[in-house]
Subunit: 435 residues, 2 copies
């Protein structure tokens, strides 16, 4: 199979255009009958056809076929292509380094539902500790029959479980007027991985809970000693002590060597670098549940212990900072998630919220995991506002920002799960319609 | 929550032992009634209790809590902890670099079913090409109505799909007497990821298949121009043109910027760095389907076009090179997979194959994906041989090596899916029972 092609340049130019017309005609059937399905191209010839005239095309043998490539063993642990060097975490530059450090996942550059470990979001209050797993211990004490101390080897000997779940910071984005240009700027404190660890319930049974046990105070081994109180019901439900993410051991930024995972609960409660669990009768009212992670309501009271991340979604493609190359066919794709369970449905509007269509959900649809949705769309080249709206299996519907504001007032900071609209101008440029 | 603990050293020593006895007594209930469930420990006190006497324990504040940790931004693209530097690809050192280069996934160090991209197995015949995606083209020609050339932007405009599938080299391990010390040595040319790309069927419909189209010859843009013929039925079923793995763009070692994915088919047919698809009436009988990837059968004929990877499994923990620290409770855990669909059942034997017990399968169980299985086990400290046996949804049962040998004879090289037994000696050391 080394013969050159029977395809000449004129033919390529002609047929690329023809085929796009054919796709336009038959697109509905190809895409399962979706109403908006259409041609791939549009009025502009794709870039490839222009290059065909210049002859800069296969079957010319590209330079990378003319000599052996990178030899085996140059990367014992692989890294992305140098051509992807722009796909990195989105670091907040103007926040105090050791108080509100945040690195966001570049959601607009990613596909599917798994976040690669190198791009998993990070958020910490005292830097990332460099913990020697051989020296790390977890202490379990308080209202238990038998206080216990575990090494990592002890933890690893328990029966294990693996589950795919999202994690999201409660301030994603920080409430007030929505800011940010890209999907990452807005909701990049969000990632999803396959986690492996031990059922917390099993470990608690090992220690023996006393009747008065109602909360567990979890403490991290970072310089901030981040501390949160967790209701005992969650600890006895699906909470896990996690040591691996996406197959390999936790990354330092995600709590190496051990973290708490509370599926569906706000990120900071999933205490990283976990060193201590104290079983108590009342919550600790720690720094992270008084001065932070509470919200001042219009009636002057504090909204506290806001555990669950409510249903939410965002279109990642096309999204802010991207540009539609031409009118015609585009796939609208995004992610939806809910702390309360599975995503039931995602609606998409391409007319500023006047009408909505149901998007296709990509299998598998897992509880408390990112779910990818898709909708074929024929862009007519006119300005448009596109947005998505998640509905979870409980029937809860993702609200607009105006609806949130009406309930929570102006001073709320966390748990902004509002619909995110994107504006597309006549040139195809996509921007934040709220900014 | 900064008070010191109420747990003193003597108490820790006492209770750690007590709690292990309790776990032994109640273990059956904790682990869903599995017959073999038992205590975590056994006759030896865990390491932590010994250290308790020396006072080298929490609540002593560890050094990493006494000063801020690594600041934000030091890793725009994250890497594993330095303490995990031994978890890397397992490179074959004594094979010719540009003919049979192979880097294996360290399966015995991994959990769950997703392989992190940095540890995904690699196998290539001409090194890894450094392809500029802006210059890369895919040509689709031959028995089609409209030959087409696609840029990566063209490919990305098609409707997308994401699916979790395994990939496995057909020589994993190379047949003949099984060799290798670890799970990685034996079946490390195996990984699993969430892939995103375009349905090949959709792209073929765009070009228009002619009635005589029976095979598609796929060619890679590496220095080896790896070329394979694929039956048209697979191309119109679940074949994909893939550009992303685990959310981010393909790694160079896995075919950046574009590869073919033929779920369940032997690895080399999933052509990487894909540059050409020629639709033909007969297979090409290329180098990779004549001199390689065929097997000499006992009757002197060649077994060719052995597409499917048959059902297979391996215990990864405990596995070769590992050591059981003590008798008592251990979880047996491993992975199972089948090119023909979902895993239906995995049986585990702890007595050299005399009796078998059904393992628990970890959800989600996906078609043509790795499936994690688990079985609680009480090791009595005596020598033992443990092994797993996969049964897929078609009812196919993973064979023993003797059964394979009886059918295929001595000269077969590829598609060894035999049961892999591990020997455990009285000291807990685990070795390859076939070696």
């Amino acid at each position: 199979m080394t013969e050159t092609t029977d395809l000449d340049d004129e033919l390529a130019l002609d047929l690329a255009l023809t085929s796009r017309r054919r796709f336009l005609r038959e697109g509905g059937a190809l895409m399962g009958g979706a109403v908006l399905a259409g041609g791939l191209g549009g009025s502009e010839a794709p870039a490839a056809t222009a290059e065909a005239k210049a002859g800069n095309l296969p079957p010319d043998i590209p330079q990378w076929m003319k000599a052996p490539g990178d030899p085996m063993g140059s990367q014992l642990y692989g890294t992305p292509s140098p051509f992807e060097k722009g796909v990195v975490k989105n670091i907040s530059k103007n926040l105090p380094q050791y108080i509100s450090a945040a690195g966001r996942t570049p959601l607009q550059d990613l596909d599917g539902i798994i976040t690669p470990n190198g791009l998993f979001y990070e958020r910490h209050h005292g830097g990332v500790p460099a913990i020697d797993p051989a020296q790390h211990r977890l202490m379990l004490h308080g209202l238990v029959d038998r206080p216990l101390i575990f090494s990592m080897d002890d933890i690893r000997r328990f029966p294990s479980q693996s589950r795919i779940h999202f994690l999201e910071c409660s301030g994603n984005p920080v409430y007030t007027k929505p800011y940010g240009k890209t999907a990452s700027d807005l909701v990049g404190l969000l990632s999803c991985a396959e986690w492996t660890g031990v059922s917390l319930k099993l470990v608690l049974q090992e220690a023996g809970l006393q009747a008065s046990a109602k909360w567990i105070v979890a403490e991290g081994a970072d310089a901030a000693a981040l501390t949160r109180s967790i209701p005992i019901e969650k600890c006895l439900d699906d909470a896990m002590l996690v040591y691996s993410q996406n197959g390999e051991r936790l990354r330092p930024q995600q709590g190496y060597p051990l973290r708490l995972l509370l599926p569906g609960f706000e990120g900071n409660m999933n205490v990283k670098w976990l060193r201590r669990l104290k079983v108590v009768a009342e919550p600790a009212y720690s720094r992270e549940e008084t001065s932070k992670y509470t919200d001042l309501m219009p009636d002057g009271t504090a909204r506290e212990f806001t555990f669950y991340m409510e249903a939410k979604s965002i279109i990642t493609r096309p999204s802010g900072g991207q540009k539609l190359a031409a009118n015609g066919f585009h796939e609208i794709s995004g992610i939806a998630w809910s702390g309360h369970g599975k995503i039931g449905r995602v609606d998409v509007s391409v007319d500023g919220g006047k009408s909505w269509q149901q998007a296709q959900l990509q299998e598998p649809v897992l509880t408390r995991a990112l779910t990818r949705f898709r909708l074929p769309w024929q862009w007519d080249g006119q300005p448009a506002v596109i947005q998505s709206r998640a509905v979870d299996e409980t029937g809860y519907v993702q609200p607009t920002f105006a609806e949130l504001l009406a309930v929570r007032g102006e001073n709320s900071v966390y748990h902004n799960n509002a619909i995110q609209p994107w504006r597309i101008d006549a040139q195809g440029q996509v921007t934040n319609a709220n900014a």
